[in-house]
Amino acid sequence: MSEPRRQNALVRWYPPAWRQRYGDEFSAMLEQEREHEAGSRSLIRSVRRSVDVVRGGLRARLDYSATFGSSVPASDRVRGGLGLVVFGAAGFVPAVVCILVQALSVLSVSPSALTPPGPMPDTPLAANGVHMATITVLYLGGVVGIGLGLVAAAPILWTATRMIIRRQGSRVIAPVVQLVGSVALYVAGITALASIGDYPGGINPVRSVVLVTTLPLSSAWLSVGTLSGPILAWLLISTTLWIEVGVAGYRLVRTVVLPPRVLRFEVRMATAIAALTGLMVVLVVLWSSEYEPYFYSRLGNDQYFAGWINETARLIPAVVALLSAGVMGLGFVRARRSIRGTQSV
């Protein structure tokens, strides 16, 4: 990307109201700085400067409501907050699925049938009531969360479809195509993996779903020889698809024009989803810190992974889950704060 284009992209990262007030003079300063330093700027300095601009944009966004909130329509702020909730959910869902699959793997295997290269859990976790109860609550939470997500998504998708049919929403088409395309590729990946027969018994569709969902976040791929080429290739693609789904969801929510009544409904749904997410995060943290689940693989040979592979398998989804929950929380707070202003919209 050329320097001017990168500069424009960086300035667009700032909140609209900030840009409206400072955007022109800020761009002028960046241009003047670039002209004065033409030919003498090093790559490191250029990167450092870009990081500084991005950090400034983040701070402007964090101060957004307090400082600039009044000049941006409340409904826009609500949609921005809801978009963040959707984006966070796209990261939170695979992370939690990954954690739950690890939990279930421990329960569904007979320790005597395994080849443990490292230390085994001292106590069979399946026998522990707290462990079972936690997993049960997490699974129920997952089911309820998906249900709430579908109910919340319905009015948005319905409105987007109507806007497209009535030719009122040309801006809606791009995120819809992005969303549908990502999901279609995701399903295609599941189908493709289900047809791979290089493991005993093949990979059934359910396992394929779990596999394509959890691969980017689990670290089974770090164990050399465990995964075949097609699965490793899918690993890279499916990571991108989750991000694509999140970005498409964010763009869609930002673009679709919803009446205040529906916006309030969406904020209520976001409240419920945020509360559920918080509960699940607390449970995962408590459970992980208490039981230190071992990552278990049934691909190829049944075995526990030990040491750093096991640690990474727990760490990656945990970090993604926490970051995603943070994004969801930020979006929820923003939507919640701004919804009062939509009474007059």
Binding site: A28, M29, E33, R49, D52
Partner: protein
């Protein structure tokens, strides 16, 4: 007695530099950046500079002036001058204490 310094918030470092730069006359963004580098040796990044400038304007310590081009100059307000004065006075007090203690044999 030194007056109580105005809290410049989390941008106190850049804010002090900006206010000090504007103390000798209005400047626009790039001129501020260059002046600060020349008198302090510190190069403020564009994001940091405008983050602090935004906050200072919100606090009423600086104000934007009209301009014919895209570059908008800023100047110190009377409240800004007062804030800078009290802030620097407080810093001078800490500086004097530190130097006095060093001179008194604070080093091993």
């Amino acid at each position: 007695m030194t007056p109580e310094p105005i809290d410049l918030g989390r941008y106190s470092g850049p804010a002090t530099l900006i206010l000090s730069s504007l103390a000798d006359g209005p400047k626009h963004g790039y001129a501020l950046m260059s002046d600060i580098t020349s008198f302090s040796g510190t190069t403020l990044g564009p994001g940091t500079l405008y983050g602090a400038l935004t906050r200072l304007e919100q606090m009423g310590l600086v104000e934007a002036l009209d301009s014919d081009d895209r570059r908008r100059p800023y100047r110190l307000t009377s409240i800004g001058a007062e804030a800078l004065s009290s802030h620097l006075a407080a810093q001078k007090q800490w500086l004097d204490v530190g130097l006095r203690r060093l001179a008194g044999g604070g080093l091993a």
